[in-house]
Amino acid sequence: MPDLLTPRRRIALAALAAGLLVVVAPWIVDTYTASILARAFFVAIAALTVDVLWGYSGVLTFGQSAFFGIGAYALAMTFTHVGFDAGGIALAFGLAVIVAGLVAALVGWLSFYHGSTPLYASVVSLVLPIVLVQLIYAGGETTGSSSGLVGFQTFDLDLETWFRLAGLATVAVAAAGYLLLHSDAGRILAALRDNEARCSYIGINVERLRLGILVVCAIVAALAGLGHAALGGVAAPENASFVFGTQLVIMVALGGRGTLLGAVLGALGIELASAYLSGSLPFIWELIVGIAFVAVIVLFPAGLIGALRRLIPGDRADAAPRLQTAAPLPRADRDMMVEARGVTRQFGSLAVLNGVSFSARRGELVSLVGPNGAGKTTLIRCLADGLERTGGEISIVGRPIGRLPPHRLVAFGLGRKFQAASVFNTLTVADCLRIARSRRDPMSWFDRSPVLSLPQAARQVIEGGGLGDRLGDVAGDLSHGLKQALELAMVLALEPDVVLLDEPTAGLTRAERSAFGAILTDLVRREGLCVLLVEHDLDFVREISSRIIVLHQGQIALDGTVEQVVNAPLVHEIYTGGHVPTAETAS
């Protein structure tokens, strides 16, 4: 009865079972094990945040220990210096949440900006705990310096209660995380990990989203640290250290990144094993952990859970959603779609584009042609990203783009298809399309929708291109041609007025290419789109274009109808090079 066990019910059942286990466990395990596990639960919550950041959204972080430490010290410092009463408790929680949130916002601002690399975010995450530990060392009496803070009055609960509290908190965080991350909206995190550029060109503010995820993870880690300090009655510099940050990563890697369950198992397993083994095998144990970690990273990147999944193949695929046609948006009643005036792009002293001016109207299919290095792709880039050009003005559907980043230009009515098919490789076709629709149809953070609304044009590409019955397939497994069709459908799902296509037919078969051409001309004629196309194949260009612009050495050499351009001697000269004396000397 697969219908009764929807993913949500399955996770609810699993959470219930895990919760029950946590409640029963203190009666079964001995006191020593229970005390180790109670602390390990708080570490597991911190490991869960590492998994969300690294496993799900692709930012390798060494810095979650810093937030854990902020929570621990918020409690220890408040209870030591302010006192243990209702006000003190509220203050401790408030400080943990606010300080962790603010520090995360600062770190996020530093780490994530238009054009930042994942490595840079890792660098910043490495610096954070180092700075924090030095501040703790320098704090004297206030922070307890290198020996930390101990001996403050804290919650007087017995071990069984702590165990259940911490265990249930872990189950709750893991279950809530699972629901959120596997909801429609949660798939955006995986999309960020797979392909950040595609996310921006779908209109997602990548930097703000990453910052938001970091702030939430930081607050959760801080609360875990607070719990850890409350239970142990101690806050030590090690709680905030870079080494602890790397241990969290090791736990997640061994358990299995991107699974949540792996983070919990990794944390509990390592904490428990090191408590038992570090006594009998003091240094050998860490040696074993190190070797296991290296082996897992090299040989089984998916960790323990990933290895188990491979052993027990199961049907984990979600049912593919039903397609619906979205009600068409009212089109802007402008005729002028793209206007470029004097667009220049310089790299140092080299001008790749030099004063390019042109315009394109609704219902036009304009092809940009020219030899390699003429600046075609650079021009597309300048049109789609306000930060790219070094001079000149561009307007999209009548609005000047200024220095706006790509995700803002999507709102102007711009869609860009990349040269190499750019989709989300680990997501299903349906999820790729749903994320592309996220600007129009806000996605649920709690559920998976059984229907998928697409505009007519995108639906046509999907169904006409042979993707209609493959909505549940993983995009990375599609053939090159189907990936190209999927990306085009994703761009059309934005319901753009202007579509930029960079060599969309490269690598396609002749049949795929003519099908593609038919779709494009149809879109332009019926939907009144304005399409700008970079293309090398002059025959293809001749068949589908309404106008051709020839770029040569960063300038517009010709701008005219198909007949005017194809018959122009200049074009033959540019392409063959033979008749222009300057071109001869240049080559």
């Binding site: 490595l119 660098v123 610096v127 180092i130 240094f283 190190g290 290296v294 990273i297």
Partner: protein, 278 residues
Amino acid sequence: MLTLALDIATTAAILFIVSAGLLIVFGVMKIINFAHGALITAGAYAALVGMRLGLPAWMAPFLAFMVGGLLGMAIESVVVRRLYRRPLDAILATWGLGIVLGQAVIVGFGREVQFVAAPVAGTIGLGGTDYSLYRLLLVAAALAIGIGFTFVLNGTRLGLSTRAVILNETLAEGLGINAVFVRFLTFGIGSGLGAAAGALITPLASVDPNMGIPWLINAFMLVMVSGSALSTLAVACLVLGGMQVVISTFVSPILGGLAIAVLAAIALRLRPEGFARA
């Protein structure tokens, strides 16, 4: 004032010695060797062993270079070779190897702090102040490493192959350059340099199993700022090392200790491509 200038010059030299191996590996392989810190530690212990065996002190860095080079070649051929397409995983795997190496050192030598004697002791009078002769010697060592590698890269066949691999690996392989071997050798040399650096800095500090980690972090930040050129690394060491000395002297040693990491992170935020072409 002269002491301050000497402090800056010698600090920069030490940073350069410690970072050069990491930079060479990053420049050629685009991989960050997080085992570099453990290799520094291994080099320091090699110096300790050399001293116990009664070898002359000047041989310590060479012995360390051999040890580190062999370790590096083993690491490259067993682990790193499989991770070229997963740079973030390469960071993690080399960090794990660092843990393994560090624990192996603990098993072999214990956790306690130990000391290695400097090959030259005492101070030298310079313009009215006495300054540690050994620290000045390290400036010469840094210059030797910098000049030596510039010569190897620009004056030898191996250097030519290496530069070809840096610029365009696919093309280099197409031209018959064995990129796999170039990377193997580069990783070995970079690791050897890290270990030699460990042997060179031990007389200034003590030897303990975790000594490499703070050095690793500073070296990592310096390499991130420098990109892949030894000349920019030298500038970065002078500027950031200089800031570290100035802040330590006039503000507080704790802030000074953070100077390189924090300033490098901010510099990268302002200029993400690093300062390689500045």
